[in-house]
């Protein structure tokens, strides 16, 4: 039920051949398979309906949508009757009106039309349909049997279920099944006693419900209704924008009233999400107006001083003065900047421009360093473009889907719903993951094979799969001969064919039975369409880049790149990881992935920006820390990134940040990094600014301002002011001008503009003269690099080995309700689902240590130690423990080490050797952390601000 109304066509679109029929004397042509209801709606009419909505398959239960068809005596339901050529249909007649009134009178007899006091008033379909069929009150006068006075379920923090208002249309049940794929709801009992039940008739909060809101969206009455409709009131404005959480990049309509968001309604026209959303994007926007928001700029000379609130001008002048002083004293390359994947393309572009043009160095990096930098390197080297090859919808054509090191139901929930839909249609699934993620077994989905490998052995597993493909004659030699580099193929083929790469030889290393590897390899290689989806479980290893290359090798040798249904699909973590990389955030690349040493590119940017530019790469984030510790790096501008929490080996990072002479942090909150800062510049949330985000399918979508910036300036304006204060003019009137500059300088973006985005809705780059509407599928006829290049991917075990001191392997991940470092989601009611990070441990390992679920346990690694509560579960294999990293006080990164990917320095978050013991008090680090947080978040007058980071 849309608060701001959407023209619902009743049933989903179909794509059959055109069929012409007559509806109420009007000739209508629609695709075969279209329902009469949809055909009538497309022709401008509206047949009354209750149980139908265009996001769900028709069910035909309410009987309100009856029509007459010439030559038929009955009155079929228009939602379940498909069109036929030459059919003559009447949607209005005396008989129909009478029948519909009769149906409606029964409904309202059990659902009094007390609309004036109902939160859904004005957009309740029962109310509008009653009016449409001419029913004002029940003729039974509320005397018959009724379902009133049932208990309200308000256990979910975001929506209520009021059974008194339920008309048992089952739209919610179908939404949960068909759209979300969780199967949490059912209709309990039969006939008059039927009612909606969550799981085994539980409260929503304790049921299997994942709070995606699809049921709420589909409910035609106020039975399932957002609490915000009551607390904030009815919206008066609607602004179309893009979710600021994960890399799915869902499109939303922000419904606003008095500069406050009432609801985030997923956009049914959204190309990435098609009207669906998850608990984060749909409900967890409250952080934007949380009391912890800092809305005044602040400075301090030392991090032990209290913060002093100052004007924007003073803060900017102080930061610029410090950066100039540091450069004069320590040299030009002693400062740098970090861009954020949580900021827009335009903001990211400006920060890298500021660093290259105003600072005069290439010391710029982005948080993609710690997540998908190996994707950039590995895909560029093998296929020629640092991006995924497909659109999300491509999965609907996949026959075999391989998910490696990703947990889509938690990390990329809306894509996971689509993936599960495809699996329910019969596609086969292979999961390669140390943990039994939900997809391994979930309602109506079961992985064909789960390769539960030991953490750190991805390369060995993918090589073993390739070994089977090549030695069992499953390679697509024709495809390779036509599209790939034959020399590198021959060398790679000889390499993977070696007996040392067979599943049998590698079984002891990977822990995966050879027969399982062989079966999975055969399944993928012989599929008509085989698609690979991967995540941070691939990249965040010392061989992250090697695994990406191995995946590309595998996709090429099986001919699985360059059409719908196949491809190499990195699932990006944060919403704008793809965009921040595209925008030239890496120290070695200008926007569009062009190396800084390339003379022609440097000339292009140099003349556009009017300054000479350096041709040598700058420092990457971990290198910045090393340089800070050796005294050659002294100043850093960090926009929207919390490196003190998100980067590995916290104690090392803290030491590096403490050694800086000027750290400028631009953020919504006094985050962990801000505790080390000298200048704090208030940031603006996605609701407060204009710009674009680029999701994991290279889709550029608009972010539109829905409310005023709380601190008065959008982030891009702050960067411009800083640049101007440094003496390098940046004068943009609107982010669209920044995008125009990006388009002028970046060949894959030439056709992108705000006008084009408004016209097309969203655009998948490359978008230029060759592809004016964008490019959903890449590498169609040939690889972007010309010929696909195979790389020999030797398995090199990580240095991080278990021994008697550290006998377990810790691996990390994330959970549905929380997002990354949690700065946003911890400040919402999503804590109802996850209020602390826990350590998952196998029952055998727990028993050997006397640990029970809920016990406090100490986790020690070579880097440090921390304390968490344990959850004993068979989800993790013996010898492996697992945790999330959403809460700073958990100190998950106090334990992770400095090990990193050989090519990109992407940290090895996924493998840390640890010992786990039962303890009774917090770790020494946690005690120091609490004290440090208290000291470094004071503002003048000694008032401690939030220490929740």
């Amino acid at each position: 039920m849309y608060a701001i109304d959407h023209h619902d066509l009743g049933t989903p679109a179909t794509d059959g051949a055109p069929v012409t029929l007559d509806i109420d004397g009007q000739s209508v042509t629609v695709p075969a398979g279209t329902s009469l209801m949809r055909a009538a709606a497309l022709a401008g009419g509206a047949i009354p309906k209750l149980c139908a909505t265009d996001t769900l398959k028709a069910f035909g239960s309410c009987r309100l949508c009856l029509v007459e068809i010439e030559g038929r005596k009955d009155f079929p339901a228009s939602c379940t009757t498909p069109v036929a050529s030459g059919m003559k249909v009447r949607t209005q007649s005396e008989t129909l009106s009478k029948l519909r009134r009769g149906v409606m009178e029964l409904y309202v007899s059990d659902h009094p039309l007390e609309c004036a006091t109902c939160p859904a008033q004005g957009h309740c379909e029962l109310e509008s349909m009653a009016e449409a069929v001419g029913v004002k009150a029940s003729p039974y006068g509320g005397t018959g049997p009724r379902h009133q006075g049932q208990p309200l379920d308000n256990s979910n923090p975001y929506f209520n279920f009021n059974p008194d208002l339920c008309i048992v249309c089952s739209r919610c049940v179908r939404a949960c099944n068909e759209v979300q794929g969780t199967f949490a709801l059912s209709i309990d009992s039969r006939g008059f006693a039927s009612k909606i039940a969550a799981s085994q008739d539980e409260l929503f909060i304790t049921s299997e419900c994942v709070s995606c809101g699809a049921c709420v969206e589909s409910c035609p009455t106020a039975a399932l209704s957002e609490k915000s409709l009551i607390t904030v009131g009815k919206p008066t404005e609607a602004v179309s924008t893009t979710c600021a959480y994960c890399g799915v990049g869902c499109s939303f309509v922000a419904e606003v009233k008095d500069n406050a968001v009432v609801r985030m309604a997923p956009n049914r026209d959204g190309d990435a999400n098609h009207g669906h959303a998850c608990v984060k994007g749909r409900f967890a926007y409250g952080y934007a107006t949380h009391a912890d928001r800092i809305t005044k700029p602040m400075v301090r000379a030392n991090i032990t001083d209290p913060w002093r609130e100052v004007s924007w001008d003073e803060a900017i002048a102080y930061a610029a003065g410090e950066f100039k002083r540091i450069q004069a004293k320590y040299g030009r390359d002693s400062i740098g900047g970090i861009t954020s994947s949580r900021c827009t393309n335009e903001e990211t572009y400006l920060v890298q421009k500021l660093v290259r043009a105003a600072f005069g160095t290439n010391n710029v990096d982005t948080c993609a360093r710690v997540c998908h930098s190996p994707t950039g390197y590995g895909l560029k080297a093998t296929i020629g473009e640092s991006a995924g090859t497909q659109a999300f919808t491509s999965v609907m054509d996949a026959d075999v889907i391989v998910v490696i090191g990703a947990n889509p139901t938690d990390g990329h929930p809306v894509f996971a719903s689509q993936l599960k839909r495809r699996l329910r249609q019969g596609a086969k699934l292979v999961v390669i993951d140390p943990r039994a993620i939900d997809l391994v077994r979930t309602p109506h989905v079961r992985a064909e094979h789960h390769l539960a490998l030991k953490p750190g052995t991805n390369v060995a597993v993918v090589n073993a799969i390739a070994h089977v493909v090549v030695t069992e004659g499953l390679a697509r030699e024709d495809y390779v001969a036509e599209r790939c580099d034959t020399d590198s193929y021959a060398r790679w083929k000889a390499f993977v064919s070696q007996p040392a790469n067979s599943p049998e030889a590698l079984e002891a290393v990977t822990g995966v039975p050879a027969a399982t590897v062989r079966a999975a390899a055969r399944l993928y290689a012989t599929a008509k369409n085989g698609a690979i989806y991967y995540g941070l479980g691939v990249t965040e290893h010392s061989q992250g880049t090697t695994t990406v290359m191995a995946i590309a090798n595998l996709a090429m040798v099986t001919g699985n790149v360059g059409r719908e249904g196949v491809g190499i699909n990195p699932l990006r973590g944060q919403n704008n990881v793809q965009g921040s990389c595209d925008m030239g955030s890496f120290p070695h690349e200008f926007p569009g992935y062009r190396h800084v040493s390339d003379e022609a590119t440097r000339q292009l940017f140099s003349s556009a920006w009017g300054v000479p530019l350096q041709g040598e790469p700058g420092l990457r984030i971990p290198n910045m820390f090393e340089a800070a510790l050796d005294g050659s790096f002294k100043g850093l501008y960090v926009q929207g990134e919390d490196i003190a929490q998100s980067d590995p080996n916290t104690q090392h990072v803290s030491a590096a940040l403490t050694s800086l002479e000027c750290l400028v942090v631009q953020d919504l909150f006094l985050c962990e990094t801000a505790k080390f800062a000298h200048v704090f510049l208030p940031g603006s949330s996605f609701l407060e600014k204009d710009g674009t985000f680029t999701n994991a399918e290279r889709r550029i979508s608009r972010v539109r301002q829905a409310i005023e910036p709380l601190a008065g300036l959008a982030d891009w304006e702050v960067t411009c002011r800083l640049s101007n204060a440094l003496g390098y003019p940046m004068n943009y009137a609107h982010p669209s001008e920044i995008m125009d500059e990006i388009a002028r300088l970046t060949p894959t973006f030439t056709g992108v503009s705000y006008e084009a985005l408004d016209r097309l809705g969203s655009i998948q780059w490359p978008c230029n003269a060759d592809a004016p509407d964008g490019t959903p599928t890449m590498h169609i006829e040939r690889f972007v690099r010309g010929v696909g290049r195979f790389y020999v991917t030797e398995y090199v075990p990580t240095d991080e080995r278990v021994n008697s001191r550290f006998p377990l392997i810790l691996t990390t991940g994330r959970i549905l309700s929380q997002y990354n470092v949690g700065a946003q989601t911890r400040r919402t009611d999503n804590v109802a689902w996850h209020s602390e990070d826990r350590l998952e441990i196998h029952p055998d390992d727990a028993e050997a240590r006397g640990i029970n679920s809920g016990d406090w346990v100490g986790i020690a690694s070579r880097a440090g130690d921390t304390v968490l509560r344990a959850t004993v579960t068979e989800r993790v294999q013996q010898g492996v423990v697992y945790t999330t990293f959403h809460f700073p006080e958990s100190g998950a990164n106090v334990i992770t080490t400095d090990n990193s990917d050989w090519a990109t320095n992407c940290p090895e978050y996924k493998v840390t050797a640890v010992q786990v013991t039962k303890v009774s008090q917090p770790s020494e680090w946690q005690t120091r952390y609490r004290q440090f947080s208290k000291e470094t978040t004071r503002v003048a007058r000694e008032t401690p601000l939030s220490t929740a980071g």
């Binding site: 390359d333 290439n362 010391n363 060398r491 390499f495 010392s542 880049t545 090697t546 120290p587 070695h588 190396h595 040493s597 040598e616 790469p617 700058g618 420092l619 990457r620 290198n623 090393e626 340089a627 510790l629 050796d630 050659s632 790389y791 020999v792 991917t793 030797e794 090199v796 240095d799 400095d898 990193s900 050989w902 090519a903 990109t904 320095n905």
Partner: protein, 78 residues
């Protein structure tokens, strides 16, 4: 910059090219990677480490750092 940090990184790069490079090509490939991805002070530090004996560097990596050192000398002379 801490030499052990750079030695470890350089040897990791070496380990990749050990398998990937054509015979005799590993030093050039490793040097190419370092040239394209390391900042000036890191390159200078690994060259200085080589000049100080280069302990801990794998043979092909030592060869790579020699290539970088020669390029730096040539650049300084030009």
């Amino acid at each position: 910059m801490d030499a052990d940090y750079l030695i470890k990184m350089a040897n990791q790069i070496g380990a990749f090219f050990h398998g990937e490079s054509a015979p005799g090509q590993a030093p050039a490939d490793i040097a190419g990677h370092i040239e394209r991805f390391w900042d000036k002070r890191m390159k200078a530090a690994i060259v200085a480490h080589l000049a100080a004996g280069g302990h801990g560097l794998e043979p092909a990596v030592r060869g790579a750092v020699e290539i970088i050192a020669r390029a730096q000398t040539a650049k300084a002379a030009s």
